[in-house]
Symmetry: C2
Subunit: 377 residues, 2 copies
């Protein structure tokens, strides 16, 4: 009665951590949440105001299935300004978040059994979205000792006739690392379509993030407004695709989603127009938090070889405490009331690690570190 596909989708352990944390909270216990990959601050009022005026003006109908023209044009301008890239508005497709964009992307390229190569560890949903689209995820291990960079010679060994794309994510969830430029270049030279999840672009504190489109035109960019603009609950994403993909993805979108929310799309235009100063403030705030988190964890004796460049995660090797990340996360939660994400959620390559999110206040980060100090001693 339930499909094999649906049965085979693995749950996220972090949800179990979160649910247990909420249970403890209902008992009156204070929990420090360092498990959640969601900005803690509110959406900028300028964006909210645009949503309000759009709703009031009756901007509440289906839109063009590829998205509102003005938002697609604004994204084109944004890519020119930020990356000096010429992206044609016709190649921009607006979606209800970057997750459905990934699904549309996979469904447009994968026949049953076709393969996508991605890193291990990786964002938890990737292999599952690939599976739902009928494909197979192939993993190239990345290692802390190699700064979580992709070893392209290792990746090459996974390439087969069934390989339809390579999926990258820079800066990455869960490692926080940017993919190095020379790796991007080497990947582009493989002449295999690259799907680049750039959802954490903008949240970079060391170096500069580069779009895959700076290296090859034969790539699909998937991104959205959730992280940098703190618009998680709005559900607004987009993809930039080469010409041949536009029509197939449009047909999939028409059938599955009709269009993204109308007034949320209007608000997206406003997000892209936020002043450089506002963006600088957001980024500055995260950088400060990251530095406090990294310093705190180093003080606890954790060896952080390379400070993560972006996103809002630090991925910490905790094998010396417990090689089982699920057990460890629950033990810390029960004894010290700090919620963390077990590394196993990100693939077997993440086992023995915990992901610390610093999308939380400085005060909470400090409190979390203090509680961990007690836990360890």
């Amino acid at each position: 009665m339930i499909s094999k596909l649906a049965k085979s989708i693995s749950p996220f352990y972090v949800m179990e951590v979160l649910e247990r944390a909420q249970q403890l909270e209902r008992k009156g216990i204070n929990i420090v949440h360092l498990e959640i990959g969601e900005p803690d601050h509110n959406t900028d009022s300028q964006i909210c105001k645009k949503a309000v005026s759009s709703i009031k003006s009756g901007d509440t109908k289906y839109t063009h299935s590829l998205g509102v023209a003005e938002l697609r044009e604004e994204l084109s301008l944004f890519y020119k300004k930020k990356y000096n890239l010429s992206v044609c508005p016709q190649n921009v497709i607006i979606t209800t978040g970057s997750s459905p964009a990934l699904f549309l992307c996979f469904a447009s390229i994968l026949d049953p059994g076709d393969e996508i190569i991605l890193t291990d560890p990786h964002y938890a949903c990737y292999p599952q979205i690939i599976k739902i689209a009928g494909g197979v995820a192939k993993f190239v291990r990345i290692y802390e000792q190699e700064d979580f960079q992709i070893d392209v010679s290792r990746l090459k060994k996974l390439i087969s006739k069934k390989t339809k794309a390579i999926l990258i994510n820079s800066p990455s969830n869960p490692t926080g690392m940017l993919v190095n430029n020379d790796v991007m270049e080497q990947l582009a030279e493989l002449r295999i379509p690259i799907i680049s999840d750039e959802i954490y672009h903008g949240l970079v504190y060391e170096g500069k993030e580069q779009s895959i489109l700076e290296f090859t035109e034969s790539a699909i960019v998937v991104s959205g407004f959730s992280k940098l603009y703190s618009m998680t609950g709005w559900r607004l994403g987009y993809m930039i695709v080469p010409d041949p993909y536009v029509r197939p993805i449009q047909k999939l979108q028409q059938n599955l989603f009709i269009s993204a929310n109308s007034f949320v799309q209007s608000s997206g235009i406003e997000a892209l127009r936020l002043s450089d100063n506002k963006i600088k403030n957001i980024v500055g705030k995260y950088k400060k938090r990251r530095d406090i988190m990294v310093t705190g964890l180093r003080d606890l004796g954790f060896d952080i070889k390379k400070v993560p460049d972006g996103a809002f995660y630090v991925f910490i090797n905790t094998k010396k405490i417990n090689t089982n990340s699920y057990e460890l996360a629950f033990d810390i939660l029960e004894k010290s009331h700090v919620a963390l994400t077990p590394g196993i959620d990100f693939g077997s390559g993440g086992e023995g690690y915990l992901r610390f999110s610093y999308a939380n206040s400085v005060e909470n980060i400090k409190e979390g570190i203090a509680r961990l100090k007690k836990y360890i001693s």
Copy 2:
């Protein structure tokens, strides 16, 4: 490079009609739009106000993957009040529209090659969403001479080991007909899970629509806020599923969509709380339009055996003018500037028909009929 799946998705001819209509409009030609399945009036201000206050209060974060508890509870109350059904909030899942709800539903029950039985004609997207989920659509023809009712003995011949569900839609797009109670009963007796698309519930002018849950508990209801509440651009839908489906669908939702829009979900609560008077006004308006449309079409000589019960469509046999509905729709558009949906969009059983939507003003409906009168003579 493009998957066989994506290539095999057929386009909607109505989109070609719409695009050509817009082209003519850019030339300054006035077009009467009777092709679009979208309410023409704005969302009620009470719903809009709730959205505005939710945005202002920072209700802009991810929600629970199954949806906001208060909306699920309000839907439970709504089903008690409207259908006298006891629906547990735990069985309600909130989605970004009824289209993704259908996909989640199919993905949760279909293994590759599994079958869903549905009517022909049918809503254009059904077979495609089934295909994207790896399934196969099997069609039972319905006929105007039988008031577009399902002949269950005919349907039974399609049942095989691969049949995973029967999909119904009452009132129906494109026919506007309710599924009769005795048909519902007979379908329920087949003991095959029924997926009931009840998106047009509330928009019923003759008789009373019944939820499939009044006949069997082994059913999935898919519905949403787009039609009755004129919330198409908001993207808010839901499904009511038996216990064993909740967790599998939740896992699919977490991976594909994370959650529906937070403040749109809050607004949905307000929609369900609209006064009976407001709903009566909306329904009364459509009834008036339907009657004008039906009278007008009958005056033109079209034989409408049974006046459609609900939704906002009249499905008209136009074979005496042209058996090719695509050709006819374009000819009417070019010569008379009335946009209509060719019946072929709804399956081969719809060929020779045109769908007239009365989700438009009385004035426009009258003007459309007047133009058609000239076209015919």
